[in-house]
C-alpha cells in the first residue's frame, strides 16, 4: 500500500511541477536574450529553453539546470574546432533539434558534441552532429535515451579520432535509430549494463560499428553495420542478445562481421551476415546460442577457435560462402545441428527434411589455408576438391567430431 501511495505522491509532484513553475525562455538574435549562455544562466529547473534558428558560436555551453533545451529548425551551435560544445551537468535534461558542429580534436581530453557528465535521465534526440571528435559522450549516466540523431565524423586514422556514441560506466540506456558514421567506433560501450541498442545504422567507421567492452545484460537488435573496419566487436561481456542485425561488407585482412572475444551466455539470432571477409570470429566464446542466422557470400562464414566451448549452432543458413567453417583445433566442443549448408550433397531417403548423411563443414583446404596463406590462390582447383573429398571420407586433419548429423535439406525460411 505504501508503495502505491508513494507512486501516487511522486506522480502528483511530477505533474504539478511544470504547472506551477515552468517558464519558457526564447533565444534569438532579436529577442531580449540573444546568446545561449545568457539563456542558460537565466533559466531555472523545469524551464523550457527554445533556441530560434541562427548561428551560435559561444565556446563551451554548460547546462547545469534541469531544463528542456529545444532547437527550432536546427539552430547551429558551432564549436569552432576548438572546444567541447554542450556539456550537461544536470539530471533530466532534454536536448532536441540542434545542429552541433566542429568539435575540436584533442589528445588530452575527450571532447564531445554533447557530453553528459555523471547525470541521469537525459533525453538526447533528433540532433545532427557534424564534424565531431566524439559525438555523444555518456559518462557514468543511467536511464538515458539517445535516439534519432545523425552523427557524422571526419575520422581519418584511429589514434586521432573519437567515437560517435560513447558510453562509459552507464546503465539502462536506450540508443535507437541513430546514424553513426565516419568515426573510430560507431557506438562504443564500456561497462554499460542493461541497455538496448536498436535500429541504428553504423557505417564507414574506422574500427568497429559497435564495440562492447565489459558490458553485461545488453541487447542490440535491428541495427545495420555496413562497411566498417570490423563490424561489431563484443568482448569480455556476458548475457548479450544480438537479434536481427545486418552485418555487411566488412572487408579486409582482419575484418569481421562480428568479433566475439571472452563472452559468455549470449544469444545471436535472426542476423544476416552478407559479404564479409569473416562472418563471425569467435575466440573464448562460451555457452552462446546461434540460431536462425543467414550467412551468405562470406569468405569464412564462421571462424571458431579452439577456445570456444558449449556453443550451439542450430537452424542457420550457410549459402555461397567460400568456407563455411574454419577452426584451429583438432577437437570440437561445440554443437552444430539442423543447419542448412549450401554445399551439402547428401540425400534424404526418409523424407523427414534432414539429410541422412552427416555434413562436415570444415574442409581440409580451410585447414591448409590457415597454415599457408598464399595457398588460397588454389581455391576451387580440382586437386583441392580431390583432397577435400579424401579428407571428408577419412578425417585426419579436421576435427572428427565436428559434424552436423542432421543437416537440413532446404534453407530455413
Amino acid at each position: 500500500m505504501t508503495r502505491y501511495m508513494s507512486i501516487l505522491l511522486i506522480g502528483c509532484f511530477v505533474l504539478s511541477a511544470p504547472l506551477s513553475m515552468a517558464d519558457t525562455l526564447t533565444i534569438c538574435q532579436t529577442c531580449p536574450v540573444k546568446t545561449i549562455k545568457q539563456g542558460l544562466d537565466k533559466s531555472k529547473d523545469g524551464d523550457v529553453v527554445i533556441v530560434k534558428p541562427g548561428f551560435y558560436q559561444e565556446g563551451n555551453l554548460n547546462i547545469t539546470k534541469q531544463i528542456t533545451f529545444l532547437g527550432e529548425d536546427f539552430p547551429v551551435i558551432d564549436g569552432n574546432n576548438n572546444n567541447e560544445v554542450l556539456t550537461i551537468n544536470a539530471d533530466s535534461v532534454v536536448v532536441r533539434g540542434f545542429l552541433i558542429q566542429n568539435v575540436g580534436t584533442n589528445y588530452l581530453e575527450d571532447r564531445a558534441g554533447i557530453n553528459i557528465n555523471e547525470r541521469d535521465y537525459c533525453i538526447i534526440e533528433n540532433n545532427k552532429l557534424i564534424n565531431t571528435f566524439f559525438g555523444i559522450y555518456l559518462k557514468n549516466v543511467s536511464d538515458c535515451i539517445v535516439r534519432d540523431n545523425l552523427i557524422q565524423g571526419k575520422a581519418i586514422e584511429e589514434i586521432s579520432s573519437g567515437n560517435a556514441i560513447h558510453a562509459w560506466k552507464s546503465k539502462n540506456l536506450i540508443i535507437e535509430n541513430n546514424l553513426a558514421e565516419k568515426h573510430r567506433d560507431g557506438i562504443y560501450l564500456e561497462f554499460v549494463d542493461n541497455s538496448v541498442i536498436s535500429g541504428n545504422t553504423s557505417r564507414d567507421n574506422l574500427r568497429y560499428g559497435l564495440h562492447f567492452m565489459f558490458s553485461n545484460h545488453d541487447q542490440y537488435r535491428e541495427n545495420i553495420f555496413l562497411n566498417n573496419g570490423a563490424g561489431v566487436a563484443v568482448m569480455f561481456s556476458r548475457n548479450i542478445e544480438m537479434i536481427q542485425n545486418r552485418f555487411e561488407k566488412n572487408w579486409g585482412a582482419s575484418s569481421y562481421g562480428l568479433l566475439l572475444k571472452e563472452i559468455y551466455d549470449g544469444k545471436i539470432e535472426h542476423n544476416t551476415f552478407l559479404s564479409n571477409t569473416i562472418g563471425i570470429y569467435a575466440e573464448g566464446a562460451n555457452r552462446l546460442n546461434f540460431n536462425y542466422n543467414d550467412f551468405e557470400k562470406n569468405g569464412w562464414a564462421l571462424k571458431i577457435l579452439g577456445s570456444c566451448m558449449d556453443n550451439k549452432f542450430e537452424y542457420n543458413n550457410f549459402i555461397s560462402n567460400t568456407f563455411d567453417l574454419s577452426t584451429n583445433s583438432s577437437r570440437n566442443y561445440n554443437e552444430y545441428i539442423h543447419n542448412y549448408w549450401g554445399d551439402y550433397t547428401g540425400y534424404d531417403l526418409d523424407k523427414d527434411g534432414f539429410g541422412d548423411v552427416p555434413y562436415r563443414p570444415v574442409k581440409l583446404f580451410s585447414y591448409i589455408v590457415s597454415k599457408v596463406d598464399p595457398s588460397i590462390i588454389l581455391l576451387r582447383s580440382l586437386f583441392i576438391d580431390i583432397l577435400n573429398f579424401a579428407e571428408k571420407v577419412t578425417p585426419v586433419f579436421t576435427p572428427e567430431s565436428l559434424k552436423d548429423v542432421e543437416p537440413l535439406m532446404k534453407p530455413v525460411k
Binding site: 564479409n276 569468405g299 567460400t322 598464399p374 590462390i377 581455391l379 576451387r380 580440382l382
Partner: protein
Amino acid sequence: MLKIFKYSFFDLIRSRWIYAYFSFYLITAISLLYISNDLNRAILSLMNIVIILSPLIGTMFGVMYYYNSREFVELLLAQPVKRTAIFLGQYLGLTVSFSLSFGLGLGLPFLFNGILGSEEIGNFLILLLNGTLLTFIFTAIAFLISLLNENKIKGFGLAIIIWLFFAVIYDGLFLLSLVIFEDYPLDSFALIASIFNPIDLSRIFMMLQLDISALLGYTGAVFNKFLGTNMGIVVALISSLLWVFIPVKGFLHYSLKKDF
C-alpha cells in the same frame, strides 16, 4: 584460309560430336537452373564443370580431328595453298564451332531464365569467356601435339597427360611447393605460378568474381594489389591471350617445317 575455315566449320557443325557437346551443356545448364533455382549458384557449379571439361574436350577432340582429317590435309597440301592457311583454317573451324555450341548450350537456358536483366550477367559473361578461352588454348595445344606425333596412340596419350597435368598435377605440385617453402614470402611466386597454367588463370577469373570476400582476407600486399584492383583481371586476360597465341604460333611454325 577463309574457305578452309568455312569448309571445316560447316563440316563440323553437322557432326554428331558438336550436337552431343551442345546438348550436354544444354541439359546441364537446364538441370542446374532447375535444381538450384538461383542464377548465381548455377553459374558457380557450371564454372567448376567448364574449367575441367573445356580443356578435356578441347585437347581430345583437337587430336582426334587432326588425325581424322589427315588425308584431307594431305590432299590440300598438294594444292597451291599456304600451309599456315590450311592449319589455321582448320583450327579456327574447330574452335569456333565448339565455342558456338558451348555458348548456345549455356546461353539459351540462361536467357530464358532472365540472365540479361540480372546482376549475374557479369559472372555469366566471365563463364562464357573462360570456356571459350580454354577451348582455344587447349585445341591449339592439341594441334601442336598431333603435329609433333605421327603415332596416334602416342598423340592421344600425350593429350591426356597434358590435360591431367594442367588440371590436377600442376596444382598438386604447386601446393606442395607452397607448403615446403612456407617460411619464405610466396606471394609473387604464387601469382606467377598460376600464370603458367591456363586452367589456374581461369580459376582466378572465377575467384575474382565469386570469392572476393575471402581473397581480401589475405594479408599479402602483392596479392591485395593484384586481386583487389582491376589489375588482376587485366593480367589474367593478357596471360590467357598469350596462352592462345603461343601454341597457335607453335603449331603454325612447326607445320611449315614438317615433312608430310
